[in-house]
């Protein structure tokens, strides 16, 4: 690119220096805070005070931190779900809906199957059914993508709205299986107590956090060390190479998308065995599925980095919630504004990580008679 006499060139880097790998996300967060600060000022809030409250409530106090870890639990799962598909260039953006289905599937198992089961088995069954429901929800887009090449992006997203209406139907529209029949107030029926895990002490953190973290490590290990993981990595880099090497593209596409859906479904099921214990329309308000996409992108689809990013983002949300308790409440959506801005800046910063920028002046071209001879 030329600007006047100055020439800006991008030179691809073979390896990115370690400081840049950290500097880009750090600068993105800083710039996002500036953007958020502008909108805070515009709406009559003091940015510095708002931010210091946001961070101190989300990360520093004991209950703030445990709330953060509690919220991070399902977010790790939706983040893993997005990372698992995105790293293969399969853009499953329906984690939100798959998570709702996970909640529905988990609640079904918790009500229908869990009554006489011991706790360990009942909880596992609920989680398994949640994962199954989330996976099945992405089955149609997955098969269409693999067999017909139908873009999975729009189809998975549109199913979010179908899933949303399904939850609304079970709780508000019908008086069926999932609805608490003991009251006229529309709310979900509780699962059997054997299917629920207790929280740690008086905190909002549940043992499911450990499952989520172990899952991230297991996935990381699985992709690095299994034949299947190797195939997905080859496919991610070059689908044609994978095909020439005899890998089954259809099978890989379908199974990766199903796995992604199952991980998102697990997030919903964890909500059932943990804080909710039922189908809770409250989950529809938090947008953990969409946030999972941001988390995965910022973690650059690295499963272990997803855990750390999810915890940081959950803190933002918890801090945002505490800003509501004030005479001049800051809308909680400031957390979403910050998430979106961080992602935009991080995307822009990628180019600095991948390329060396060279700026030099162009020497004026002098055509001398000798040069032509």
């Amino acid at each position: 690119m030329n600007i006047g006499r100055t020439r800006i060139e991008l030179e691809p880097r073979l390896t990115s220096p370690r400081w840049l790998v950290l500097a880009v996300p750090f600068a993105s967060v800083l710039l996002a805070l500036v953007v958020g600060g502008v909108f805070l000022l515009l709406t009559g809030h003091a940015p510095i005070r708002t931010y210091s409250k946001l961070f101190s409530n989300g990360y520093s106090t004991f209950y703030g931190m445990t709330d953060t870890l509690g919220l991070a639990t399902p977010l790790i799962c939706t983040g893993l779900a997005a990372a698992y598909a995105f790293r293969m260039n399969l853009f499953n953006i329906g984690e939100e809906g798959q998570m709702y289905l996970g909640m529905i599937g988990g609640a079904w198992a918790g009500i229908a199957l869990a009554e006489h089961l011991p706790k360990a088995i009942a909880v596992s069954v609920v989680l398994a059914f949640g994962a199954l429901a989330g996976g099945l929800w992405v089955l149609v887009p997955a098969v269409l993508r693999a067999k017909l090449g139908t873009s999975e992006i729009v189809s998975t997203l549109l199913l979010n709205y179908v899933a949303l209406n399904l939850v609304n139907y079970f709780i508000f529209g019908s008086r069926g299986f999932f609805r608490d029949s003991s009251t006229s107030f529309p709310q979900g029926r509780l699962v059997w107590s054997s299917a629920r895990l207790g929280n740690f002490g008086t905190t909002n953190t549940y043992p499911t956090l450990i499952i989520a973290i172990l899952l991230a490590i297991a996935l990381w290990w699985f992709i690095r060390n299994s034949n299947y993981g190797y195939e997905t990595s080859v496919f991610a880099d070059s689908p044609s190479t994978a095909r020439y090497a005899g890998m089954n593209a259809t099978r890989l596409t379908v199974t990766v998308l199903l796995g992604s859906g199952a991980l998102a479904g697990l997030a919903g099921a964890m909500y059932v065995v943990g804080p909710a214990g039922k189908i809770d329309p409250g989950l529809l308000q938090i947008g953990l599925g969409y946030a999972g996409i941001v988390v995965a992108s910022l973690a650059r689809y690295n499963f272990v980095a997803v855990v750390i990013t999810a915890i940081l983002f959950a803190g933002l949300r918890v801090g945002g919630a505490s800003l509501q308790i004030s005479t001049n409440p800051v809308p909680i959506s400031i957390a979403v504004v910050l998430q979106g801005s961080v992602l935009l800046f991080a995307l822009g910063g990628e180019i600095f990580r991948r390329n060396r920028i060279r700026i030099h002046r162009i020497k004026p071209l002098v055509i001398s008679p000798e040069a032509g001879a």
Partner: protein
């Protein structure tokens, strides 16, 4: 149930199609240049909240729509800088715009949550023409922007297929290296059309708020219409005039649940009916978006691919 209800539903479908037409034509001219912008939903929301807030403080419909357009252009510019100059992943950039737009529209709209819309775009008064059966409501029952939208579609079609600029635009989406070899800047063509597309999407959001929306509600203002508009681009085969037909069809699926509810017809519960537009859209996508169909339809060959001169 009388036939009149269905005439009115059809008229409503044509009206609601305005947003879909504007947004999908915005997406069509963007995608024709080789840039895919998935951020439509976020841009619609930002256009809508801008129109509401400006309308609320100035009571001027035109100023409200004008600023919606500017906001749409600003967001498209962000996408353009990220994907054209900085060569970021177009899919992720679009998603980031959706998340950013959703968050910011909720943040800015918080103060007016649930408040009824301050100004309303009303249908034009055609006098006795509107009383003609069928044609009255269907043709003469709309507001200025709806008619403007039909002209936009005609203009966009003429521009794409009958002008030199349109030819360059289509070539940029299909064979950017050729355009570059002709001495035309691929980046400039992509910037211009991405931002022009953003203007239409911003207007779509502003119009939707002031003509169809009753109140600002953070949960349910656009309800995924931006995603339906993206599917519509495929349905329309990247041709503006076909987008009109598709938009009316999709507008119909969006309107039918409300008609049936208003008529107390309870074949299905309302929540199930609300799924209809999304399921119908997926069904259409299934048929149309296979690679074979895409080739036949004429999808831009280099859609989503950044252009780097040295690599070709």
């Amino acid at each position: 149930m009388n036939s009149n209800v269905w005439v009115l539903t059809f008229a409503d479908a044509i009206s609601i199609a305005t947003t879909l037409i504007l947004a999908s034509i915005g997406a069509i001219i963007t995608e024709r240049s080789g840039v895919i912008n998935l951020g439509i939903e976020g841009m619609l929301l930002m256009g809508a909240v801008t129109a509401f807030l400006v309308g609320d403080s100035t009571h001027s419909i035109w100023l409200a729509l004008f600023l919606s357009i500017l906001v749409g252009m600003a967001m498209a510019t962000v996408h353009a800088v990220l994907t054209i100059t900085l060569r970021s992943n177009q899919i992720v950039s679009g998603l980031a715009l959706v998340i950013f737009g959703t968050g910011l529209s909720q943040f800015l709209g918080k103060s007016v949550e649930g408040k009824p819309r301050p100004v309303q775009i009303r249908p034009l008064n055609f006098g006795s023409l509107s009383d003609i059966p069928f044609f009255g409501p269907v043709v003469f029952g709309h507001d200025l922007i709806t008619y403007f939208t039909w002209i936009v579609a005609l203009f966009a079609s003429w521009y794409l297929f009958r002008t030199r600029s349109g030819l360059i635009l289509r070539a940029t989406g299909d064979a950017p290296a050729t355009v570059d070899a002709q001495g035309v800047s691929v980046a400039a063509v992509r910037y211009f059309h991405t931002i022009a597309g953003g203007a239409l999407v911003g207007l779509a959001g502003g119009w939707f708020m002031l003509a169809r929306g009753t109140a600002w509600s953070q949960a349910a203002t656009t309800n995924g219409i931006g995603w339906i508009a993206l599917a519509l681009v495929v349905f329309a085969a990247w041709r503006p005039l076909r987008a009109i037909i598709g938009a009316v069809l999709f507008g119909f699926t969006l309107q039918v649940p409300f008609t049936l509810q208003a008529q107390q017809i309870r074949i299905f519960p309302p929540e199930i009916l609300q799924m209809l537009p999304y399921l119908a859209t997926i069904a259409v996508l299934v048929v149309l978006s296979t690679p074979r169909a895409r080739r036949l339809l004429g999808a831009p060959t280099m859609l989503g691919q950044p252009f780097v001169r040295d690599e070709r």
